[in-house]
Chain length 140, copies 2
């Protein structure tokens, strides 16, 4: 399902969250899909079940999974996590924008830069990848 990079200095559970999050956000793992059990994925990756559990807990926290005790963990529908993802993004954006303002950057400069960032969007974004059913950078 995923591959761990042992040269990556980040903790295992964090790698797992990132990779699984991408799989879900990209649509590679469709809603209602049953995730591997913590033990089976732990076995597959040769890590402790608690490590998988921690990754799953984080993903659940972020709304990407839901869990039924005794049954397993499942992928949630996009509508479940899209809102909270955007809320967090907005909050962070506002804070950073205030910092930029306080450093003396002019509003007009940010307005110009904003246009540029949204022109980049011509490149395939997660939404387009999802609809096309494609995926990228997800190993194995």
């Amino acid at each position: 399902m995923i591959l761990l990079d042992y040269r990556d200095r980040r903790p295992i559970y964090e790698q797992m969250v990132e990779k699984l999050e991408r799989l879900i956000a990209s649509g590679a793992l469709e809603p209602l899909t049953k995730m591997p059990s913590v033990r089976s994925l732990a076995m597959e990756l040769s890590v402790n079940p608690n490590t998988v559990q921690r990754a799953y807990a984080q993903l659940e926290q972020d709304g990407y999974l839901y869990t039924v005790s005794g049954r397993g963990s499942f992928v949630t529908a996009e509508s479940e996590w899209k809102d909270s993802r955007q809320s967090k993004a907005l909050e962070q954006w506002t804070e950073v924008t205030r910092q930029a303002r306080d450093s003396g950057i002019k509003k007009e400069e940010l307005e110009r830069l904003l246009q540029d960032v949204f022109v980049e969007e011509e490149a395939p974004d997660s939404e387009q990848r999802r609809k096309a059913g494609r995926k990228e950078s997800e190993d194995d």
Copy 2:
């Protein structure tokens, strides 16, 4: 010159950087002002000289101070640090804006929010404080 808050969980040197940075950015410490020596400030605050040294090194890294070995550390002119501060702010802003875009937030929403943030600016900002020679939230 500054006061440490021992209830603050952050490391001492980090508190010092923050407080001194404000003093400098607000203009309370004018350019060319000689900073206290690492030993004297360490004595005054009852911390190790290396802790002060670390704070000074950070401030120098960020362009707020410059040092002449054997002579002391001095406050730099605003022009010295303003650019790098804005560069960092812009870089961070661009990254966060991309994240917001990728989460599906529309350009128009960010444009609206941008106006709001710059309306807040009616409150006194560091630039205005500096010109008025006032200060705030700097203890002792």
